[in-house]
Symmetry: C2
Subunit: 411 residues, 2 copies
């Protein structure tokens, strides 16, 4: 099959959007929610803090009792109780009185401030003392965290459609919620095709190539927050057709690599065409123009090249955003500005994913001759994406770099 | 215990370096190696490519036979064989001959270039043709990937002490290696202390606080590539001592939160002091100065605050680098330059971890009153770290931002 009519990336994005599949929702324990995609917003059952509490270790006091205290004017208050974390006091403070209080403990009735322990003098470190001497004053409200100052009961505390970080887990817990709705993780079937492929070995026969895509593309699927099972198939039309048909029934998404050997025809493309629909084949990107997309039994199928660097480029340009969106997360990696250290070549009429190495200030392209050169991906730490209307980058230009780590399922 | 003598971060780093523990090494299958820390460098068993191969679908030819061909001057070559991927040809090309060849297949003897399929004309799409007509010329070496151009046998292809990405997995496979040595993942015991703590619930009694640290710090441990088990303990000296002693024997690292309630003493610090050694307690950082570090049975113990935001700050400032280094990975998150949108306050004499939100150009601090305000961590997407010799940041200053995602175990 000739790829004479390459479609532009803009059209690819339209076709993917029309055929985007979104996973169903499941309820999980909050403890298992790290890096899952939250499906429904979280509202708080509580004010947070749930009561006025002390922000310091010290003494709950009536602020006005401390006015005028200084290193020269020592004042004295009577200690009437003490409150540890998790405890509270039934006593009410009157003028001239104080209650020893732990950080986080509820402010007792009558008090309106907390005097830090460091600004007091006691005989026995507070444990058995009847009085404290104070040499500093506090203002009303000082060192008191007011009930509901962080969150009010009924407030929306976390929005839906975000990747859950440690801090969201904490906020959800504080809201009183211990199980949440998340999008199911996509189950992806990766099918590696190619008669020439063998597993890693010290001894290669003539014409054999080591199957590296099973590792590269398999882990890239994981880097999108999805689960992957991997199979191998010979470049045989009926074998490929059968495994595609089975996989499309058992998985949420299918990815293939290889199957474009001229002597046998585009076996993967032909097999998808026979039992499903090829929606595009051939995209104006580099590396990786011979990439395809289709549907079998309504399951999306991405058909990538056999060459690892082409397959990686295709995955990053096309598959990654689809896998993110299956969990209802928009794929918008942060871009960082760097100065081009050298002229970077690119052609009009195609979107170039140029492998680059960027340091803190500058960026340079990683040179490579062929699409099989994985080493160029190892030396690179990101891409510059040059769109179809732009013809290369001049030395000294400020350009946007997408670091590989910013493209992963991780926030 | 008073924290009157806070030690500076520089001293903290020295103490951590002196007591750094590095995990042992284990051998794993390459397929399980994504995001593991490679312990020994990888050398290739093979040239890559292992033979001169075609970089295009087309015809292996003698380049000189094509010289002068153009849309006006059509030349003709005799097809003597065809080579699919994974196959090879025993035939030798002589002048006037061509062999149909698939991308990746070995260049046959006698040929020195590959003419792309697009530049040829055949009657029957190549399958049964005896001759091709060509209307373009190629130079010697064109579309041929030379044996060993990517990697030479014996070359070091991947250095040790890196976090393995998909592309390293591919390169290791291509080197002929299918099992590798990695650092074991640290097994971390997280002990949450605090009488006031309860699991997330709709109904809170007076003085109860929801235990959010089990989620926040638990998932932060995972974000450093380590495994975590979580326990809860009351603020009781003997209970804490016992669980610390047991955990120090069963785990590679122990982290505690809480245990600094004045009414009962610094129960965690006291327990570590009783059965081990406290190496520091109280650091000139904000948030989170009451952080401790010690050893029990030679196992490192980090003692964090009970307040989630203080504990998160302590974890990011102190624990994270230690956990990375346990897998022999230096913790050097990338920093990005942004313009301060507002004046940012900071004090001399302590290292401030200021929670910020940065967009593509600017950065602003996230305001918060107390260290309990998790919401500030949810609104933030990074830190500005202001060291102890610097007094705040002026509006318009260009500052370094560390994005949270750059601090995670992910490349």
């Amino acid at each position: 099959m000739f790829l004479s009519e390459l479609i532009p990336m803009s059209e690819v994005l339209d076709i993917l959007a029309e055929n985007q599949k979104i996973m169903g929702i499941e309820t999980i324990d909050l403890k298992d929610s790290y890096l899952r995609a939250l499906a429904t917003a979280i509202y708080s059952f509580h004010d947070s803090p749930p009561f006025d509490k002390s922000a310091m270790d010290g003494y709950a006091v009536i602020a006005e009792d401390t006015f005028g205290a200084s290193s020269n004017i020592i004042k004295e208050l009577k200690i009437i109780d003490q409150i540890g974390a998790g405890a509270f006091s039934d006593k009410k403070i009157n003028n001239g009185e104080a209650i020893r209080i732990a950080t986080g403990a509820p402010i007792p009735d009558g008090a309106n401030a907390v005097l830090m322990e460091e600004y007091t003098i006691t005989e026995n470190e507070g444990t058995d003392d009847e009085y404290i001497k104070i040499h500093s004053q506090v203002t009303p409200g000082e060192n008191v965290a007011i009930s509901g100052e962080d969150i009010k009961k009924g407030d929306k505390v976390v929005d839906s459609n975000i990747i859950i970080r440690p801090q969201e887990m904490g906020l959800i817990a504080s809201a009183g919620v211990d199980s949440i709705e998340v999008y199911k993780k996509p189950r992806v079937k990766l099918i590696i095709t190619g008669n020439e492929l063998v597993n890693p070995t010290k001894n290669l026969d003539k014409a054999q190539i080591i199957n590296s895509n099973q590792y590269v593309i398999g882990s890239m699927v994981e880097s999108c927050g999805a689960n992957v099972d991997i199979s191998y198939s010979q470049d045989n039309f009926n074998t490929v057709k059968e495994i595609l048909d089975d996989s499309s029934k058992d998985y949420d998404l299918v990815i293939t690599t290889g199957g474009t050997a001229i002597s046998k025809g585009d076996v993967v493309i032909d097999a998808v065409d026979a039992i499903g629909e090829v929606l595009f084949h051939g995209v104006a990107i580099r590396p990786g123009k011979p990439v395809g997309f289709g549907l079998i039994n309504e399951t999306p199928i991405f058909m990538l090249s056999g060459y690892p660097v082409a397959a990686m480029g295709q995955f990053d340009a096309i598959v990654r955003r689809f896998l993110f969106k299956m969990q209802n997360i928009d794929f918008n990696p942060r871009m960082e500005k760097r100065e081009a250290e050298v002229k970077i070549y690119s052609n009009l009429g195609r979107t170039d994913y140029i492998r680059v190495f960027a340091d803190d200030e500058k960026v340079r392209s990683i040179l490579s001759r062929g699409s099989g050169v994985i080493r160029s991906m190892v030396e690179a730490n990101g891409y510059i994406i040059v769109d179809e209307n732009q013809e290369g980058i001049t030395k000294g230009d400020i350009v946007d770099v997408v670091f590989f780590e910013a493209m992963n399922w991780n926030k």
